[in-house]
Amino acid sequence: MRSRLPLALAAVALAALPVRAQAPTSEIEQLRRENALLQHRLELANGDKFYLVLDPATSSLKLMLKGAVLQDYAMQALEIGAPRVAFATRSLPDGWRGRVWERGNLVPPRELDRVEIIAPPPSKNADEDNAPPVPIPQTPEEKYPVPHRYHVRFEGGLSIEIRRFGEQEDKTGFWAGLGKSLGNWWADAKAVLSRSSPEADDIRLRVLLRPADAESFYRALPPDTRLLVLPQPES
């Protein structure tokens, strides 16, 4: 549980104040915010959907379900991106932290290539040994190649951009690298300029994960995940 002890101590100290003493407004405010946050966490834990809890204070990104931590990814770096048009940077909307973001999905999506089989008509002579050999399916690594940069886009204009920490994006030559850079720029420009489209982002969190974690996160993330970004309180 995240830094509960100092807060609990503060709560006890506040409660123990003599009647005539005034509690500092900032501490009361912090307690109030912490309660609101606990309410959100409880709401997430009571729900049936998978959710992410991003905690800048502990640099962790947790995949959770009903209060259980299923995976804990250590963030190597975290930055926040505000939309910028011709060098004019928009201000971030208020209240993006400490609220629940809904329906987070991977961009590009992790496509499941389903195979359909029409069963043969039943025969008493059917013999497994005579059946055509079933090909060995691919491993998850073969089945789901992970892009160097991908997003988890939530309804309402927040997306998490995941990148691999300490790895260069392109190893395929100058022109391919240039093409990828232009492609990335175009995707970013669209996310900034098309404000009414579902691809529009008002806030972008850039998370750097270790390469293995970035790949694992892409392959593991269930659809329609919720998100709670914990506030990083003033020290």
């Binding site: 005539r20 009361i28 309660n35 209060g67 259980a68 060098f87 992790r110 420009a189």
Partner: protein, 249 residues
């Protein structure tokens, strides 16, 4: 018209024409230069604007104090207010803690085919498994037109029962898939040994069980159950009891 007449008449006229064409050419040149400069400016401006369009990244700012309703100024009222907040905090925290699994629980990553056995926050087993293939099986025109999707469901489950040396009562799809007639007698559905040494029922026919095909562990090959290798299954059998939570994602 005589030659002289032409000379007299054409002399000043041709000079005028030449002067005008020089002026036009100069104007055109100036316009062309201005045009090129404008285009260049637009190009540079466009590239600069494009370069400056995207996202400006920076460190996540610390949260400034909120502007919520001010607490009561009267000391007694403020104390009551703080007491309420503290009580609410305790209540919410306790409710959240009650959600966190205690003791042994199982986590399955069905896409990457990994199974984790956890005790509180510690991982005591991290092993390869096999989850649903995602395959769709359809009955042809000869059957009832049924369709089965071999996915492993996501969510929170509990171990409903556990069995040693389990016997698998094969469902219809197992016969349809093999191209065999569906037996009328239940005894003909019984399959011995396929599920390995142990099985854990999760409900709706889904199980965690052993396998005869350990070389396929780590790949999505099953009809929705979770297959585990023999040695890992033995470890799981020792600690996982009826009621143990199983989280599948």
């Amino acid at each position: 018209m005589s030659r002289e007449e032409l000379d007299v008449a054409g002399g000043p006229l041709s000079q005028q024409t030449a002067g005008a064409s020089v002026a036009v050419r100069t104007t055109l040149r100036v316009l062309a230069i201005v045009g090129v400069l404008v285009l260049l400016g637009l190009l540079v401006g466009g590239v600069a604007a494009a370069y400056g369009t995207g996202f400006a990244y920076g460190p996540v700012p610390r949260e400034a104090a909120g502007a919520g309703d001010p607490p009561p100024s009267d000391p007694k009222a403020q104390k009551r207010f703080v007491g309420k907040l503290v009580a609410q905090h305790k209540q919410l925290d306790a409710a959240l803690q009650a959600k966190v699994p205690k003791g042994i629980y199982v986590v399955v990553d069905q896409t990457q085919n990994r199974i984790y056995l956890k005790k509180d926050e510690e991982t005591i087993l991290n092993a390869a498994c096999s989850a649903g293939s995602g395959l769709i099986l359809k009955e042809g025109d000869w059957g009832k037109g049924r369709k089965w999707v071999f996915d492993t469901p996501r969510g929170l489950f509990k171990v409903k029962s556990r069995q040693e040396n389990p016997v698998w009562k094969k469902p219809d799809w197992a016969f349809v898939e093999e191209g065999k007639p569906i037996p009328r007698n239940d005894d003909d559905r019984m399959d011995y040994g396929t599920l390995g040494e142990y099985s854990f029922q999760l409900g709706d026919g889904y199980m965690i069980h052993g396998t005869l095909y350990e070389r396929l562990l780590g790949r999505s090959v099953t009809h929705g159950c979770i297959r585990v290798g023999r040695d890992d299954l033995r470890k799981i059998w020792k600690v996982v009891q009826v009621g143990t939570p199983v989280y599948i994602y």
